[in-house]
Amino acid sequence: MIEASPTVLNFVWTASFTVMTAYYIYLILLSVACLLGFWCRKSDHTLKIIMWLLFASVVTEAIVYVMAIIMKLKPQFFLLYHIYVPIEYLFVSLYFSKHIAWARINTAFYLLAGMVVLIDIYLSLIAGDVFSYPGKNLNVSGFLIIAWSATALFSIRPEIDRSIFSFPVFWIGIGFLIYYSGSFFHNFIYGLLIKSDSGLAAKLNAIINKGVNDVLYISISIAFICSHRLKKYT
């Protein structure tokens, strides 16, 4: 019979990484992706949306760092994520809506954007707590972004002498698919663990949440590099 063993997880974890190391790796990858966003030539102008999203992420993480690490305002920093989640949804869905060749997509984008913002406000202020992890908010926008990114992946229009791997939207689509799928799983496990073993929950958070974030920022960096190479040779 398979038995979960927090002891083994603890051992593997402490032997290789620490929660803070994972956090710093995450911050470095985010910063690199953001810098690449500003530096790379953009064959696809919609990438500017992702560039400004990364900039918003860097600003949010910088404030979170100051609040959580320096000022030790531990639960209060979650408030920033409650603000960041709907902003991220708006940027990401706007980016994908530009890559989906359906006339009704724009209408869907505006309708869903309004709905998501309202649901997030409800989940943060009424049904939840602004000083706790915005798991439900992430699940709502994640569900829709998975749909947006999968649709965008299937909408890539073929171009002469271009493999699917050279399209920035492919890498960004894959990145967000992995990130939000991982987030669903993370939120599920985190919800189960947080009440019984908060230490293990924090470590799993570092593995899964920061892990999928790392994958997302690596994918976005690849997308910027693809865009730069395309612009350079065209």
Partner: protein
């Protein structure tokens, strides 16, 4: 605590499901892209082939048209002048010095004119000569030919700063204009043609005549209009034709520069 078998199974199952769905989405997206890419390439190849075939056909038609015009020019102009020269020289009476001097002077004039016309014609027959023309020069050349060979009044106007047009596109555009002019001469019974070339974001060419026009429902048995439409399509342009019975015809060609 995550220790009950149900929770572990649920966690493992959900992870496996998420991974499976992710992998499936990515694989299906790649396969679908490859399929669309193959179809796209087939379409592009077919379009390239049509383009090359049409370009070759256009070149042949332009050559035929040029030869036809040269043949008419030799018959109607040079032939007439040489006949005049022949009469002049054959009727010289060397005893009548005054008349002979006049006839020789006239013969000299005719010879100079014939030499000039033959030189112009030889230029027309040279493939480089016309292809070195800009689009505006070429249309002006066509307008001059129509003016010299028919009783129609043809006006040509340029709007905007002239822009360079790709040589292959230029050939196809000229052929479309020739076809349009030829249709007007053959069928429209017009007395005036106005040609306007407009250099805007896109190149626009208008051919307007005051002929008998045709009903939009009227069936056309000739290839003229369909050839013009096909040619404009292969260079990414479009043709708009407006015509009413007894109210002339207006043809507007819109083509991107590249």
């Amino acid at each position: 605590m995550l220790s009950s078998p149900e929770e572990i199974y649920l966690a493992a199952l959900s992870t496996a499901l998420i991974m499976l769905v992710l992998v499936a989405i990515v694989i299906v997206a790649i396969v679908k892209y490859q399929r669309r890419y193959r179809l796209h390439m087939e379409e592009v190849m077919a379009m390239k082939q049509t383009y090359n075939e049409e370009l070759l056909k256009t070149k042949l038609e332009i050559s035929e048209e040029t030869l036809d015009k040269v043949s008419n020019e030799i018959h109607d102009n040079i032939g007439q002048m040489l006949a005049l020269l022949k009469i002049n020289l054959f009727t010289i009476n060397v005893q009548d010095k005054v008349s002979t001097t006049k006839k020789i002077a006239k013969a000299k004039e005719v010879i100079v004119q014939v030499i000039q016309d033959v030189r112009n014609l030889s230029h027309t027959l040279s493939p480089e000569y016309l292809s070195n023309f800009t689009l505006v020069e070429w249309i002006a050349f066509e307008v001059d030919l129509v003016k010299s060979s028919s009783a129609m009044q043809v006006t040509f106007e340029q709007v905007g700063q002239q822009r360079i047009v790709d040589p292959q596109r230029k050939l196809i555009i000229i052929r479309i204009i020739q076809e349009g002019i030829s249709n007007i001469i053959k069928h429209a019974k017009a007395s005036n043609i106005k040609i306007t070339i407009i250099f805007e974001n896109e190149l626009k060419i208008e051919l307007v005549d005051d002929g008998m026009g045709f009903s939009q429902n009227q069936k056309h048995t000739g290839q003229g209009l369909s050839n013009m439409k096909l040619r404009s399509k292969i260079i990414g342009g479009e043709i708009e034709i407006q015509s009413e019975n007894m109210d002339g015809t207006s043809i507007r060609l819109t083509v991107p520069y590249e």
